[in-house]
């Protein structure tokens, strides 16, 4: 009898451990996710490098303009991290649906034909080659699995050790180590690159000419044609679904605007935007950013700063107004 009680107590205890373990496991991650400051608050490239000279405050920027809503305009924006932080106050529309690339097929809303429905599809240049060619937008309802490189953020579990030491007072030690490594071993995190004599960091995948995401990788005309065909198919599908207009916009890599060690740009954006078979005009972020006299990209973040973002927003709003007239 004693043995049976012991075994019963053991099984009960074991179940309790499993349940408590599982609960605390997920609760721990939730706590970490909510209570620890954002990883990229000083720039995503700084986060990788921890080089003291590159700590910038990405939230301390010129504020974006708030614009008047335009009645009857319903705007759907599909984009990536370049559009983080934007809201319907920044766009001339009555209602904004802001969707991430990966979630598009399941979340696109029913089209209300009483409105002017505009779809803007934004992609960063480093993912443009596979995003535009894949034509997955044509298959609304199909499951979309983004490639691994789509997510430069670390997953929650790998992230934990970074998160648990992601406090400002510990950054000093991380910066000492990063500087020590640079001085002694002449290396830093392999996800980033720094050109000779520049005070700017680059995401390595945008400058490594062996990678599709690079501004300096070779692209043949066949691939450009495929991308344009993909875009046309996407546009056709969206128009068929009920959108009144569809616009694409490719946000250039930093390396496409600020050259890296004299490397030769592949001109992906211009070659797509100026392609004779293209059926829909582009919102030309590349020319806007290239011509700007201001610094439009953070020097230690792979994204544009608010000045660059505002230039693009102004162009988008101009396009919306023209279409809504």
């Amino acid at each position: 009898m004693k043995r049976v009680v012991q075994i019963g107590a053991f099984i009960l205890g074991f179940n309790l451990i499993v349940i408590i373990g599982m609960m605390s496991y997920s609760a721990g991650f939730n706590w970490a996710a909510e209570s620890i400051p954002p990883l990229y608050r000083y720039g995503d490239l700084y986060f990788f490098s921890k080089l003291p000279g590159f700590r910038i405050n990405t939230s301390n920027q010129v504020k974006l303009k708030q614009v008047k809503p335009l009645h009857m305009v319903r705007l759907t924006v599909i984009g990536d991290s370049y559009l983080d932080g934007l809201s319907n106050h920044n766009f001339r529309c009555q209602k904004l649906d802001h969707l991430d690339w990966g979630y598009l097929p399941d979340t696109i809303q029913q089209i209300d034909t009483n409105n002017v429905n505009i779809l803007i599809i934004e992609t960063t240049e480093r993912y443009a080659r596979w995003r535009l060619r894949m034509r997955y937008l044509t298959a609304f309802g199909k499951k979309y699995t983004p490639p691994i490189q789509d997510e430069i953020k670390l997953n929650a579990e790998d992230n934990l050790q970074f998160q648990l030491t992601n406090f400002d007072f510990l950054l000093v030690f991380k910066e000492i180590k990063a500087q020590l490594y640079l001085n002694l071993f002449n290396r830093f995190d392999n996800r980033i690159a720094q050109p000779n004599g520049s005070n700017r960091l680059y995401l390595n995948e945008t400058i490594d000419k062996h990678l599709n995401s690079s501004s300096y990788a070779k692209i043949d005309n066949k691939e450009i044609n495929e991308m344009v065909n993909g875009i046309n198919l996407i546009v056709g599908d969206a128009l068929y679904q009920g959108f009144d207009a569809v616009y694409f916009s490719i946000i250039p890599n930093t390396a496409s605007i600020y050259n890296y060690n004299g490397m030769k740009y592949n001109h992906l954006i211009e070659r797509v935007q100026n392609h004779p078979n293209l059926k829909m005009p582009f919102i030309d972020a590349f020319s806007l950013l290239l011509k700007s006299k201001n610094i439009v990209f953070h020097r230690s973040d792979s994204h544009w700063n608010s000045l660059g973002q505002q230039l693009w927003l102004d162009e988008v709003n101009k396009t919306i107004v023209n279409k809504a007239r």
């Binding site: 012991q6 075994i7 053991f10 074991f14 451990i17 499993v18 373990g21 599982m22 496991y25 790998d158 050790q161 030690f173 000492i176 180590k177 020590l180 002694l184 071993f185 002449n186 290396r187």
Partner: protein, 445 residues
Amino acid sequence: MLVLFSIPKALRKPWVFIASCYFYMVFKPIYLLILFAIIGIDFIAAKKIEHSISNKKKWLVLSLVANLGILFFYKYFNFFSDNLNVVFDLFQTKNQIPALDFILPIGLSFHTFQAMSYTIEVYRGKQKAENNLLDYCIYVLYFPQLVAGPIERPQHLLPQIKKTIFFNSDFISKGLLLIGVGLFKKVVIADRLALFVDPVFNDLSHSNGLSVLIAVVFFSFEIYCDFSGYSDIAIGASKMMGIDLMQNFNSPYLSSSFSMFWSRWHISLSSWFKEYLYKPLGGNRNGELMRYKNILIVFLLSGFWHGARWNFIIWGALHGFLLVIENSINKRTSIRFPKLINILLVFCITSFVWIFFRVNTITEAVLAIQLLYSISWQDSLPKVFNHFEFILSFFLIALLILVEKKQYLSQISNRTVQLSTALLLFVTCYFFGEFNLKQFIYFQF
């Protein structure tokens, strides 16, 4: 550890049990059930073995089949099915065995072997069957050595588990020193060397002879520091709780023979195979040929224990052959080289054989060996390290050999010096360690 010493002594063992469960569950919670299945079967089987006279063997077989069955299912099923499918293809049979898609439970080979040693020892009458289920659970689940050993024997570990865990500042300082040494080996040496080794072995078609040669030497020390570093951390963590784990490494690269190497490398596994396989096969009792056969069987299975791939089997077989050759030479000649020559010879050959351990396929091993034969001093090296880091890597290796040769660390007996050294090691690990999320190599086994 903080909680452990701040709770009443009666709760400390349950706390170690809970911590061990949690430790394992962080990897994949559901796999804890496998461990509990093994624990349940072996606990009951050992009881039955002890109390039964006629069915002793049946219960032992049941326990071994259960342990090896789980090991086979998770670790070796796909290996056998893949190879059988190749045979089916040869005979143009349409039947194919489907591959199973799951992650190998972490440290499976380690804890099944430890569990098996318990029932075998009870069967041999050298160990009493455990009455306390909690103590037995801790024996199998004990978190410092659960996932990568040392593979303990019940006579050594169980009596220590049965004692009360109490705070002892000597244990804490010794434990911290060992953890510091282990961490240093792992993050400062092993993971630094891996920065050079990985790109060479992962892209052999673009490598050259000199790169492969250096990568081979570096890998010898990478795997040693990686695995012995883990063992040091495990032994240190356990020491802090007052439980001594067995020594797993003893300066293996200072061995002057292959038999000495295997008495110093992964000691807990080598002794396991010796005790539970080599001796039952007849050991060295039935003449020279039988002895060589037994050595070859043990090393083939040792290779297979490491992984369900042909390259591991070849790695094991090569070591078996080396031991056979060494024994044979020693028996037939009395010529002896100077010790230093022997040490260098053993190191060079062992490093060469590590190629089969590091690669993923036999083809890669052949390519690496071909590259070694085409070595030229003009070969360029991967631009992973600058000159300073390259020199530092060799310096770290030399430092490791020196510290092991002179046994400096074991001479530190003063508690203050132990703690200061540990602190210095932790700081060095932080500033010069590679924290690139590279897990311990032996976790995969």
